[in-house]
């Protein structure tokens, strides 16, 4: 809670100033909420843009949400992600060499020459399918960091249409 003392110097009624401040605070709160939804949208777009192996199910992006919290707005509900897209962290940070497994590639004849690193495989565990032996670690997508960078660039200008300095 912030307490302040207002002494009108321009002859206007003190209550008028208090009302203006309350209005501005409400507008900033509302703007913060819309900013939160925009951040979630940016994060979803980052995931789509940074996905190398396509087609993607879009499951991770679908589970990036903006929600009101006690302190303001939150983007990316960890409980929801852990249950619906538990790979959210490893996709962001990369680094792990995926385990050897059996599965298939999108084409009927297995992986296509020259498409290395761009084809999405599906794990089946069925030994009749292709034996997949990954050799390289996953490159981090850093979609969270991309979004935080975006916030740092855009947050200062997001409120410029609000006349905060005038209150």
């Amino acid at each position: 809670m912030i307490t302040m003392t207002i002494t009108p110097l321009d002859g206007k009624n003190k209550d008028c100033h208090i009302k203006n401040i309350k209005d501005e605070v409400d507008q900033v709160k509302s703007k913060l909420v819309s900013f939160g939804f925009e951040v979630a949208s940016v994060m979803r777009n980052n995931i789509a843009a940074l996905t190398k192996r396509k087609p993607s199910s879009g499951n991770l992006a679908k589970n990036i949400t903006a929600e009101r919290t006690i302190t303001g707005m939150g983007v990316g509900n960890v409980s929801r992600l852990n249950s619906n897209a538990p790979y959210w962290k490893v996709v962001n940070d990369g680094g792990v060499i995926p385990p050897k497994t059996w599965g298939y590639f999108p084409g009927p004849s297995g992986p296509v020459t020259g498409h290395s690193g761009t084809e999405r495989w599906t794990v089946t565990g069925d030994t009749k399918d292709w034996y997949i032996d990954p050799q390289k670690p996953m490159t981090p997508m850093y979609y969270i960091e991309h979004t935080v960078n975006w916030i740092h660039i855009n947050f200062p200008t997001y409120f410029t249409n609000k006349k905060i300095t005038q209150i």
């Binding site: 490893v90 940070d93 792990v96 060499i97 960091e145 991309h146 935080v148 960078n149 740092h152 660039i153």
Partner: protein, 155 residues
């Protein structure tokens, strides 16, 4: 000289060259690379430095000049948790100010790349400085990883 590199590449190379020199002056056995996959081909400790993203902004309303901000990512792959902390602190100390921006050019045979100083790179904001937790880490690179991301501008 043959071909000149453009601004984004110059920012990346200037930053890599600067940090490589600083790390080389104070640390021994630390390899500096510029691609994530290269880092896994080297013995730890490895520092991977790369320019990840460019934000294009106009210098001012009506201007046709860009005032860009660049996001630099530094992945640290350390031997131990202590080294991870020391290396990350060291790098944070190095990037807190400015370093030389160079225009790079290479000859037609691409045998030599030469940088000519042309201003400074300024760190604007550190956006992340955190440990990267890989719970089932198998590769030694994944055991003590650290991530630093920051925004820079050229002036």
């Amino acid at each position: 000289m043959g071909n000149y590199f453009r601004r984004t590449r110059n920012i990346e190379l200037s930053t890599i060259e600067y940090l490589q020199r600083m790390i080389g002056n104070s640390w021994s056995g630390v390899t500096v690379v510029k691609s994530f996959l290269q880092a896994y081909a080297e013995e730890v400790p490895v520092v991977c430095i790369r320019l990840d993203e460019t934000f294009n902004g106009k210098l001012e309303i009506g201007s046709t000049t860009y005032s860009n901000t660049y996001a630099i990512v530094i992945d640290i792959f350390a031997k131990s948790d202590a080294q991870r902390l020391d290396l990350s602190d060291f790098i944070m100390d190095q990037i807190k100010g400015t370093w030389t921006y160079c225009n790079y050019a290479h000859n037609s045979g691409r045998t030599d790349i030469v940088g000519t100083p042309d201003g400074k790179v300024n760190m604007a904001t550190v956006t992340y400085n955190r440990k990267v937790e890989i719970f089932d880490a198998v590769a030694s690179q994944d055991k003590f990883r650290h991530l630093i991301t920051f925004l820079v501008r050229k002036f």
